[in-house]
């Protein structure tokens, strides 16, 4: 187990290092941020000064060496625009994004499981066909456009919910969150729902196929033979069986939700790290772009690592295979 752990962590670090190289080279190889930062009337001397101040006059390999050295010390550079450590900027915006992703994750479960179970119990009913067509749309329609249409309907036409931004926050263990007050929650509803739609479609499919499989199992027949009510059979016997795979897969999807929040945050002008990324791309603020991407890569790798290790810890067969292989 220890050998497996060490090897798995080693692989994770390797992936992070590889991604760091790719990200740095692709972001730093192209474009000149000085053009954007400098006053349009600046002469060549001023440009050179800015370039030198940002360390952009050095050769690429030297910049890369410096980047790696600093990154190992937890320094991902200073934002050209805000003149603050890029990592600090990202971390400031992180609670907003994580809150959005978590609320969306919970929404996708709350929406997806009941609909999926229903569609699995009554596969031929028109309601189930409607649900399944809806989930296909959820998969294929561009998410940002759905967000826009929701704004048009609920914010512009009905004026029930705010069109964007983040609501008032309260501190929870020192982290600012907005879901604790109704006013804050009002701001979260539309963006979280939009972000949840894609995963809800996934959850609907997973729970539908899980339910269809479960109702054919002997344990459901036995539960009926015991005289249990259909409600109890569905809510306890079937639901408990499909919850485990659905929740596992969704846990894995948390990373992609954080990444996809880039789009949702832009649509709803939600001040998370995704919006910061898009703004920074527009302003060629390289250190912030790199810091965001490194953060996301680390989140992805860590989630994958945790899931793998949990599996190895829970399932003796995985451990056995690993020690043999």
């Amino acid at each position: 187990m220890l050998a497996y752990l060490i090897r798995r962590v080693g692989q994770a670090l390797l992936v992070i290092a590889a991604m760091a190289t790719i990200v740095f080279l692709s972001i730093y190889a192209v474009g000149n941020p000085v053009d954007i930062l400098a006053n349009p009337n600046a002469d060549a001397k001023e440009m050179a000064e800015i370039s030198a101040r940002l360390g952009l006059d050095k050769p690429l390999w030297e910049q890369f060496g410096l980047f790696v050295w600093n990154a190992l010390h937890g320094d991902l550079g200073r934002s050209f625009v805000f003149n603050e450590p890029a990592l600090k900027l990202i971390i400031q915006r992180m609670p907003a994004t994580l809150e959005l992703a978590f609320v969306a994750l919970i929404m996708s479960i709350v929406i997806g499981i009941p609909l999926g179970v229903w569609a699995g119990l009554k596969p031929d009913a028109w309601s189930s066909r409607t649900i399944m067509s809806g989930s296909i749309l959820g998969f294929s329609l561009p998410n940002f456009w759905i967000g826009l249409m929701l704004i048009l309907l609920f914010a512009v036409q009905l004026k029930w919910l705010p069109s964007g931004g983040r609501g008032p926050t309260t501190n929870l263990f020192g982290i600012p969150v907005s879901f604790l007050s109704w006013e804050g929650l009002r701001y979260l509803l539309l963006p979280a729902f939009t972000l949840a739609l894609y995963k809800a479609a996934l959850v609907i499919r997973l729970s539908r196929s899980g339910t269809r499989e479960a109702v054919l199992q002997d344990y459901v027949r036995f539960a009926r033979a015991k005289g249990l009510s259909p409600t109890r059979i569905v809510l306890v016997h079937v639901l408990k069986n499909i919850m485990i795979p659905v929740v596992t897969i969704l846990g894995l999807e948390l990373g992609s939700m954080i990444a996809f929040a880039v789009v949702t945050e832009t649509v709803f002008a939600y001040p998370g790290m995704g919006k910061l990324l898009i703004d920074s791309i527009g302003r060629l603020d390289r250190p912030v772009i790199v810091a965001y991407l490194m953060m996301v890569v680390v989140i992805f790798v860590v989630i994958n690592l945790i899931v793998d290790l949990l599996y190895a810890a829970l399932d003796p067969r995985v451990r056995l295979q690993e020690s043999e292989g």
């Binding site: 027949r221 036995f222 033979a225 015991k226 005289g227 109890r232 306890v236 069986n241």
Partner: protein, 326 residues
């Protein structure tokens, strides 16, 4: 009550398939009395399991009970509203299934699965239900039942799991237990232990038992009476010893001949020629005629009716001559 616990009359169960309507059970009549063990024997596809499921009202679409009558302790079950049927299931009639690996829900603890059964039928406290569950586990021979209650099914062996299923089925002391090949998936040694235990438990409580199996050896040691099914019909019925010693229907005769036994060691095992017919297109006459060594022209025209003789009955125009030993 002196009448039968279970009385089935002319039961017909149909399944709508792409090839048309299939009559899985075609006119089955049966009586089972208090404390009696009936062995329901047949190959897979003979309709024996479907008969068992119909008693509990567990036939799912595309299947449906087309006609007939099923009376449990005098009460007609066919046409009974679902909620009343549900009240009877688990309380007056219970069922156990073939594969103990899949009968118990893998993600629920044993205590959950036992206590929910009691509380579906009686308003009792969780604590009282738990002690009854523990008692029930002890009765089926499970050591340290209090600990077993807290385990998940995968932590138990196959035999243990089937014992748990039996304990659950007998929790409410039902009048009737339908056991659908409950020992087929188990080792032979465990199989005989479990058979002995079920037999004893049913005898103690007077529970009538329908034991569905394809294994004549099991029936020989367990059942009081036997009913042999072929292609949805009962082809021979009677007390277990006379039927097994002197089968009258050629199919029963063939089944006995194809069972391996000690006294014919070294001989080639007899087989019934041909295959179980597809229920979708049965021959017009006797369904067994195409495979039957005794079949004559009249067998292929109309299906034979039941011939009664004392406590026995068979469905054949040209039965195996009486007193011929196998």
């Amino acid at each position: 009550m002196s009448g039968p616990i279970l009385s089935i009359h002319d039961l017909k169960v149909e399944f709508g398939t792409r090839q048309g309507v299939v009559k899985a059970v075609d006119g089955v009549s049966l009586n089972v009395y208090r404390g009696e063990v009936l062995g329901l024997v047949g190959e897979s596809g003979s309709g024996k399991s479907v008969t068992g499921l119909s008693i509990l009202g567990l036939i799912d679409p595309p299947g449906r009970i087309a006609s007939g009558s099923i009376k449990l302790e005098g009460q007609e079950l066919i046409g009974l509203p679902e909620h009343e049927l549900r009240r009877l299931r688990g309380e007056r009639m219970a069922m156990i299934f073939q594969d103990p690996m899949t009968t118990l829900n893998p993600v629920l603890r044993i205590d959950t699965q036992m206590i929910e059964t009691i509380r579906a039928h009686e308003k009792v406290s969780e604590k009282a239900a738990r002690s009854r569950a523990e008692e029930a586990l002890k009765r089926v021979g499970i050591p340290s039942p209090a600990e077993r209650l807290l385990t998940y099914p995968h932590q138990l062996s196959g035999g243990m799991r089937q014992r748990v299923a039996i304990a659950i089925a007998l929790l409410m002391s039902p009048a009737l237990l339908v056991a659908d090949e409950p020992t087929t998936a188990l080792d032979v040694t465990i199989q005989s232990q479990i058979i002995a235990e079920v037999q004893q438990l049913c005898a103690e409580t007077g529970t009538a038992l329908i034991w569905i199996t394809h294994d004549l050896a099991v029936v020989a040691g367990l059942a009081d009476r036997i009913a042999v099914m072929y292609a949805g019909r009962i082809v021979e019925e009677g007390d277990v010893d006379p039927v097994l010693d002197h089968p009258r229907h050629p199919y029963t005769y063939g089944l006995l001949g194809s069972a391996p036994s000690n006294n014919r060691r070294g001989e080639k095992l007899a087989q019934i020629p041909g295959m179980t017919p597809s229920l979708a297109n049965l021959p017009p006459g006797c369904a067994f005629a195409p495979r039957c060594a005794f079949a004559q022209e009249d067998c292929r025209v109309v299906p034979p009716a039941l011939t009664h003789a004392g406590s026995r009955a068979w469905r054949c125009f040209h039965p195996v001559p009486d007193r011929e030993t196998v």
